[in-house]
Amino acid sequence: MPLYSCNAQSGAISAEAKAKIAADITRIHCDVTGAPEIFVHAFFFEDAPHQPLDGATAFLSGTIRAGRTDAQKADIVEDMRQSIHTHTGIALDAIKVITQDTPAQWVMEGGDIMPEPGEEAEWLAAHAANETA
């Protein structure tokens, strides 16, 4: 976690663009939040019924740990929308980006409950120690 799920019209995002957007999603999320890259998942779909486009050409939904500020979320939304536009040429107003908060304590990754925002370094150190134990 976070999980960024991007649904788009078939053919709207090339394979090459997906890789670039995934790299941008990872960089943007980590730059804005300070989270480690290893936490960031970006999955792409085309015309997926589980994530309706509702008129958009591309719809990126980010499920992120609760505790980020409104300013951080606004930066994520704007920078990721720009990334999709840059790498695909899709008009900005046809790209929908949202974030949704999920409490960290609801999520297990690597066999451990996820850390609260800002507690990642301690979590990673403890996780590494557990793996070598």
Binding site: A15, A19, E37, H41, A42, F43, F44, A48, G111
Partner: protein
């Protein structure tokens, strides 16, 4: 029925293992929450899943029961969920993200 979403990387989990996991997930929600699992199994096509900007081998399994779960119990259940998933698939614990959410507030 308890909604469960399984996001997996296409080709990573065999049909046989998918059948086993569906059965185990159903048994898990039946035993824990008293209802079977309503499973949405979504395969991420090859080349479409990334973790840390590299090709992903991660599965994400999300369960949303109808009643809130105490945190101590949630942690125990997540260990059980991730445990049977990795045991069946051969994935490592670092390749499974488990979520047990509370009900959506109206």
């Amino acid at each position: 029925m308890i909604p469960c979403i399984c996001l997996v990387q296409a080709g990573q989990i065999s049909e046989k293992s998918e059948t086993v996991l569906r059965s185990k997930l159903d048994a898990f929600t039946q035993k824990t929450f008293g209802e079977g699992a309503q499973i949405s199994w979504v395969a991420v096509s090859k080349g479409n899943g990334f973790t840390a900007a590299k090709p992903s081998s991660s599965s994400i399994v999300s369960v949303r029961p109808h009643t809130p779960v105490a945190q101590e119990k949630r942690a125990e259940l997540l260990h059980e969920l991730c445990g049977f998933w990795t045991a069946e698939t051969g994935q490592s614990m670092n390749e499974i993200v488990g979520v047990i959410a509370d009900p959506i507030a109206n």
